[in-house]
Amino acid sequence: MSTRKKAGKGTVVAAGIVAAVALVTSACTSGANAGGGNAPTGGASGGGGTGGAVVNNNGDMTLAIVPKLLGLSVFEANVKGAKQVAPNLHMNVNYTASVKASGPDQANVITGLVKSNNPPKVIAYSANDPTSEVPALQAAKAAGIKVIGFDSDVTASARDYFIQDTGYPEMGQALIDAVVKKFGSSGTVGILSSTKDATIQNEWIKAMRDYISSKYPDLKIGPIGYGQSNQATSQTQATNLINSNPDLKALIPIDGAAVPGALAAVKALGQAGKIGVFGIGDPNPNRQYFADGSLTGLFLWDEVKQGQLIAYVARMVADGKMPASGGSFTAGDLGTFTVTNDPAPNTIIFSKPLEFTKDNYAQYDF
């Protein structure tokens, strides 16, 4: 039957096209892996024996940065910073991450790195959750790879050092102080977080609550919404929160995607300036809101410089030169840092909260 013949030819052609496209795609994507690529370790492929990390005799090493998700601007900024100082540190930076923001998927990526032909010397992660990656990281440590965390941590025993973005109490205070400065010390504010079990967000919420109960007892934290770390859901939740709580003074989105979502919600409701938005997030998605006054406070930290710190710490950890807890070290022109045990063992606090205002946001590109 003619239909059968047509189907037969069609399928052969289709199969051929599929195979060709598959080959081309894998070639393209492995080269264009969002800026990092699976760069082979410089001249170090000859070294290294069975399963250990690879260090060449001129000190070249590979640092693998594995953030929560591929393509997020804050992590791209981290990688940019790390790559800026990498040549001086005789280091190659391999940036790879999962395409899904899930702990198990990230653990998979880490396991892939550990078992690859040229495992990195140091793995730097920002974890999707504090527990799912632990077995994979412990396997990395057992294979001789050093493990450092930044931004979002796992249980302390699974890593060597952790770079915390900023002190939790400091961030909580910065936010609340900004709220009080603009709207006074009484009223209700709402919080827009990412998910119920997000560790850093929960720490910030706790810090805010502690600060409020000690200093501004008339300020109330009302509803807490969860935007699931994406802007559309954050926007929907923010709008519903504002609509159902007409006496809300301000909204505090504490997640990178929640900030533009909250701002878009406030603007769509015509409440720009009347309901304050004080957030923790990066400036790029929010540039337009600095000008029209709806963004009343934005805090984060310098992601690019944090990336540089990651590189410095990685180098020192690889060389065994990191001080124990209580000690301090210098990281290039970033300054001096101390290793503490608060709130978790071997923690390095990167910086104080950095406030972005309409005067300074243009200097930052993330």
């Binding site: 969860y226 859901t233 519903n240 609509n243 007409p246 540039r287 337009q288």
Partner: protein
């Protein structure tokens, strides 16, 4: 055919109006929604305010567009799981052009539709020509397009498009009626007209109902299937532009992060479109989407903790489908014969 005689012999209780059968599920939904609105307003009076109602309507527009496209796929007894990254890719591509090159609205809409159409070609080829089962083909394209979205985004994101986009996404023309709703209604109207009053539309129903019979009746089943998936992709592309208008942003995970494909399928199914094809309407797509948006808002107003909101949506879906006996498997029940469901007016014998 044998079944044509049966109704005459059994003195059918069916009404003669072709709208009654098709609209019944939508009416049920509207009734449930009215109840929800009344209850919520009694609880908190500001539920019934122009800004809340207009928000609920506007927020459902993205899913409405995806569900409209999905309706075509479902009607032809298929499914399209790749609409989420198609929507995302459209949002990203159009968004970058808008943000970097200042593209205006009309070309943006056309570009979005084009992106959706081109991506839909993949599905159309696999399902229509190669004849892969739709769920497999679209599972495959889901992964491929999802990955493509990361490649196209390349570490950047869309976050500052011209203000005309977001104005269209949020401004209201009358208190409580957002502009974007009118756009959505126009799309629903056009789709409904195509489905009910064109040969192509009837062919879609016929194909989904009984592909072999349709084939024997001379309907170009293969062409109809191909066009269905093209249309599905096109609507997903348009949905991406609507997403831009609503949120002013797009990232590498747009579409998949909000489970747009599952939500669109849920909206279409709630609105009365059957999974097995041959039954459904464009109106059902929008009513289903608004229902989802309304339920979510009602739950926030009722103070239901966020972790229970998914359960609330699930419960609402179950209750609604339970209430509609038509959705149930007609084991031993009498069901409307084919001609009634296709909307053909029955002429007196």
């Amino acid at each position: 055919m044998a079944e044509r005689d049966a109704p005459a012999a059994e003195k059918p209780a069916w009404t003669w109006s072709w709208t009654s059968v098709l609209v019944r599920r939508e009416l049920l939904l509207v009734a449930v929604m009215v109840i929800i609105v009344v209850l919520s307003t009694l609880h908190r009076s500001y539920f019934w305010s122009s800004r809340n109602i207009s928000f609920i309507l506007a927020d459902s527009m993205v899913i409405t567009f995806v569900a409209l496209g999905q309706t075509f796929a479902l009607l032809s007894r298929g499914i399209d799981l790749s609409v989420a990254p198609i929507m995302g890719l459209s949002a990203v591509i159009v968004g970058f052009r808008a943000q970097d090159h200042g593209m205006t609205l009309l070309p943006a809409v056309l570009l979005g539709a084009l992106v959706g159409l081109v991506l839909g070609v993949g599905n159309a080829l696999l399902v229509g020509i190669v004849r892969l089962p739709p769920i497999i083909a679209t599972l495959g394209t889901l992964s491929i397009y999802g990955g493509l979205q990361f490649v196209v985004t390349g570490g950047r994101q869309v976050d500052h498009i011209p203000v005309q986009y977001t104005d269209l996404g949020s401004k209201t023309i009358l208190p409580g009626i957002p502009l974007i709703l009118l756009v959505g209604l126009a799309a629903v109207l056009i789709t409904a007209l195509v489905l009910r009053h064109t040969v192509f539309g009837r062919s879609v129903y016929a194909t989904g109902e009984d592909a072999e019979a349709a084939y024997r009746a001379g309907i170009p089943v293969q062409r109809v299937t191909v066009i269905c998936y093209l249309v599905c992709g096109l609507f997903a592309g348009l949905a991406g532009v609507v997403y831009l208008m609503r949120t002013g942003s797009a990232v590498a995970t747009t579409g998949t992060d909000t489970n747009a494909n599952l939500n669109a399928i849920a909206a279409a199914l709630i609105g009365g479109t059957a999974l097995t094809g041959g039954r459904g309407s464009a109106l059902g797509a929008i009513v289903g989407s608004v229902f989802l948006s309304l339920s979510l808002s009602a739950m926030v107003f009722a103070g239901i903790p966020p972790i229970w909101q998914p359960a609330g949506v699930g419960g609402a879906i179950l209750l609604t489908v339970l209430a509609d006996r038509k959705a149930r498997r007609p084991i031993g029940r009498r069901i409307a014969p084919t001609w009634l469901r296709l909307g053909v007016r029955r002429r007196p014998a």
